[in-house]
């Protein structure tokens, strides 16, 4: 089932007088429970497309349809609400909150997504997700004491704890070695399947493509082939 689609999305950046069209009408639809991998040369517009899809920056034209509603026509507050409740993000760096423990990072996400769980329900949910990503033994640790891979796993836990409909990941394995990268990709695949998430992932790494259900190639601001 398609819960998310992108329709003729354009993006133009203007550097002073010069206008540059980075996305030249992109069409794409994502299916539930599938990992769609976005590949392409550096500068082809992958990150731009992913961040527009995720509601992190506006498009210059076209539609981003989530649950049949056009996000490009929504107010910033409506987009924020969707980001908070329906989307999850993983980026190249974990971007954890430095002064919160692993457990608190997840609690913050639960607060933000307004899931209205009771304290013990929150605890149970956090324990469950941390077990899923294999970080339950470091619940009380601060990010500064975690390794890169561990941070990334916490970031993934944060991205899925509120049961998002769509997971966006931009080079989630780029800062990890190949063993850790595989672990992270396995984890993302498992979560996509078990939680029936719609996942869009950008990656440079050929090896990671074996985890994807669908591979889409971008070149020069358009879907190629």
């Amino acid at each position: 089932m398609t819960v998310f689609s992108i329709d003729e999305v354009r993006k133009t950046f203007s550097n002073g007088e010069v206008k540059e069209e980075i996305l030249k009408g992109v069409n794409l639809s994502l299916r539930e429970g599938e990992i769609t991998a976005l590949v392409g040369a550096s500068g082809s517009g992958k990150s731009t497309l992913l961040t527009i899809a995720a509601g992190l920056q506006p498009a210059s034209g076209g539609k981003v349809l989530f649950e049949e509603k056009n996000m490009t026509a929504m107010s910033p507050e409506q987009v924020r609400k969707i980001r908070a409740c329906k989307f999850g993000f993983v980026f190249q760096f974990a971007h954890l909150v430095p002064f919160l423990t692993v457990e608190e990072q997840l609690m913050l996400m639960l607060d933000v997504s307004e899931l209205k769980l009771k304290k013990d329900e929150q605890k149970a949910e956090i324990d469950k997700v941390l077990k899923l990503v294999g970080m339950d033994h470091r619940k009380k640790a601060y990010p500064s004491s975690l390794s890169g891979g561990e941070k990334q796993r916490v970031a993934i836990a944060r991205a899925i704890i509120h049961k998002p409909k769509v997971l966006f990941a931009d080079e989630p394995t780029a800062s990890l070695d190949s063993k850790r990268s595989k672990d992270v990709m396995l984890l993302i695949r498992d979560l996509t399947k078990t939680l029936n998430i719609t996942t869009l992932i950008v990656t440079h790494d050929e090896e990671m493509l074996s985890f994807a259900d669908r591979i889409i190639k971008m070149s020069d601001g358009q879907i190629a082939g």
Partner: protein, 344 residues
């Protein structure tokens, strides 16, 4: 979950530094304003503590009260019309005790009035500060211009003028010492400033205080320091929070990306600002009140609860404004900025 509090807990040193700066600046402000108030009390309690009213002095005195000579007929006319009004004269001078030790005092003499001490010729009533220096009722004093002796009749609280204790004497004795017939001033409690009396110039209490040369200069410079400190502390708040916010741009971006409301980020900053400021203010209020109690007797220091409360409120408001102004950048942070900048 209270992330404002979690951040303070995790970054104790940073917030401790901010708190101690606010503590020091506010303590300094309290002490200076206590000093300003103490000095003003020391300089003019005699006038300040009078009820609201109007002072009259001779127009030709050009606002210098000890050049003022109010015509006797005018004085009699006013005093007969306004029963509560009193004519008075103030003159700095010296009293010599039995060991010929000289003390500087402000001689005050007035016509019959409930606002001033009325003493008989040869008697004197002194400010309480002299009692604290060991002078007792019954002690005698002389003055170079006075043929007889003054006997101390009693003491009164908080009667100071021009940084000297007030000595109330009888009008007759005053005239003998200073060889004048006319009075300098007429005070009309609750009087009407617009009431014009020929040949006399009217002053409100505040205006009259400002004709005391040292008074206005002293108060102006001290009050300037106080407001300067308040402004500085406002700027400190702004700068400190600005620096903290700049360091946290990446964090704000990430929090916005995951869906935290901008208003929550402001609330986080306000909570931290209020927490730090209130603790710092409570500490400096305690310290300044302790100082108020243990300050040496001779030190003109007087810090009332009203002044402290008012200044604290100003600090809170200015801290709030400073933090909020510096927080405008939070509003501008784009979630993408953080993600593209890499590790936070």
């Amino acid at each position: 979950m209270n992330i404002a509090w979690k951040e303070i807990k995790r970054n104790k040193i940073r917030f401790l530094i901010l708190g101690s700066i606010i503590f020091l600046v506010s303590l300094l402000t309290f002490i200076i304003s206590g000093l300003a108030n103490g000095l003003s009390q020391d300089n003019a309690a005699l006038i300040k503590d009078l009820p609201n009213g109007v002072f009259y002095m001779d127009e030709e005195a050009e606002e210098t009260y000890n050049l003022s000579r109010i015509d006797r007929s005018i004085q009699d006319e006013i005093l007969s019309k306004h029963k509560e009004a009193a004519a008075l004269s103030i003159q700095m001078g010296f009293l010599n005790d039995e060991n010929d030790k000289q003390r500087s005092v402000a001689f005050v003499a007035s016509t019959e009035s409930t606002l001033f001490e009325n003493v008989k010729s040869g008697e004197i009533v002194l400010d309480r500060s002299l009692e604290e220096e060991g002078i007792k009722v019954g002690d005698t004093f002389t003055n170079n211009q006075y043929s007889s002796k003054f006997v101390v009749k009693g003491f009164v609280d908080q009667k100071k003028y021009s940084h000297a204790p007030v000595a109330y004497i009888n009008l007759k004795d005053f005239k003998e010492i200073y060889r004048v017939e006319e009075m300098q001033l007429i005070f009309m409690p609750g009087g009407d400033l617009t009431l014009n009396i020929p040949d006399l110039q009217s002053f409100s209490k505040k205006d009259f205080l400002n004709t005391i040369p040292s008074y206005s200069a002293e108060q102006m410079s001290l009050n300037m320091i106080v407001w300067f400190l308040v402004v500085i502390s406002g700027m400190l708040f702004a700068i400190f929070f600005y620096m903290m916010n700049v360091q946290k741009i990446g964090l704000y971006g990430i929090l916005k990306a995951i869906g935290v409301k901008t208003s929550s980020l402001f609330k986080m900053m306000w909570t931290q600002m209020l927490f730090i400021t209130i603790i710092a203010l409570l500490l400096s209020i305690t310290f300044s009140q302790v100082f108020n109690m243990i300050a040496p007797k001779g030190m003109p220091f007087s810090l009332t609860a009203t002044t402290t409360g008012l200044l604290s409120l100003v600090f809170l408001i200015i801290g709030f404004i400073g933090a909020t102004l510096s927080g405008i950048q939070i509003k501008k942070v784009e979630p993408l900025q953080a993600i593209q900048q890499g590790e936070v």
